[in-house]
Symmetry: C2
Subunit: 208 residues, 2 copies
């Protein structure tokens, strides 16, 4: 409900609408609290208190803690639960390709989005690592492996995260040619099968 109710930004000077103040204060408080306490440690109540607003405002403006983290820290323009559902639609044999395509498409539209900044915060704050792990591994990849009922779900989610993070590093942070400039489908075709094996293939455990 948040973005529909969010008023358009205008260039006029003066006091912003009260709702926008609340939303901005929540985003700022969320960045601080997530940075201090990590994703798991941060609570909606703590963030709302830091922003000086009622905890119900988090649900009103963002729909919940996950989406607030996404917008405040990772600045992802989507809800992770909806993303997972969308990724799982279609042939499971193409799941790896869909995940790579989604990440690269979103990142490409924003020059890597917040990923380079997130890498910087990884270096500066251990809590950013916790946030990245909880969000990327638990909320996205962890849900995917859970929904497809994979064995060794945590290891599989980790393996996927390693390739996604490495791709982000090479394409948007270190910018190695030619991978930094390869078109999306070249990346999808090259790296999709890696995620596919990590998700549904043999990874060498239990004699697979």
């Amino acid at each position: 409900m948040s973005s529909a109710e969010q008023r358009p930004r205008t260039k006029r000077r003066g006091r912003r609408p009260a709702g926008q103040d609340t939303r901005a204060a929540l985003l700022e408080a969320a960045r601080e609290v997530f940075s201090e306490s990590g994703y798991e440690g941060a609570t909606v109540r703590t963030i709302a208190a830091r922003a000086g607003v009622d905890a119900a405002m988090v649900n009103h403006w963002f729909g919940g803690k996950e989406a607030l983290f996404a917008q405040a820290v990772l600045k992802l323009p989507f809800d992770p639960a909806e993303l997972v559902t969308a990724l799982l639609e279609g042939d499971i044999d193409k799941l790896g390709e869909r995940i790579v395509r989604r990440f690269v498409t979103v990142w490409d539209a924003t020059s890597g989005g917040v990923f380079p900044a997130l890498i910087r915060s990884l270096a500066a704050h251990d809590q950013a690592a916790t946030g990245l792990r909880d969000f990327l591994v638990k909320e996205i990849l962890g849900r995917v492996v859970e929904r497809i009922e994979a064995d060794h779900p945590q290891l599989r989610a980790n393996l996927c995260a390693s390739q996604i993070i490495g791709l982000g590093m090479v394409r948007y942070v270190a910018m190695f040619p030619p991978l930094a400039t390869a078109d999306v489908e070249t990346v999808v075709t090259a790296i999709g099968p890696t995620l596919q094996r990590y998700l549904t293939g043999g990874i060498g455990i239990d004699g697979e």
Copy 2:
């Protein structure tokens, strides 16, 4: 020749041996110059001048620019050319596993070695990205793909780098469980085939 001639460090106070002074000055100058100019832009002459010593000292103490970069910036305890030769010994179908095993074994022995620091310097200095690219992709993975005469060698080297860097991020920087603590052979068996496909398999170009 460097390490054999290097005198052991002692705890006595006072002036260190002149040779050690030269070596230390070169390492410090190299870190500065590589950071400022990147691997390609840095020259042995510039580094020696910054250290106030003759350029011949670089060859005397380190054997050349590559090994100086390895010790000064990446602090790898090996010469990349020797590493590549060692990696290529044995069954080419196990090349991916050997590369993963080598990186993880070296990194595990040093808690990731300089990798976390390198990620920090990647964020702070664009030149660190150039150094990582030139060294990891050009000097190690680029040589590997050249020696096995792979098609699309640069893209293949990039793809390998993306998985190696991502593994380093997850295992040593962000430290996601269980990949951060999985034993070496679990990692090798899970990720080795990824590098193998990037090196010798179909990566979706030219109808492969």
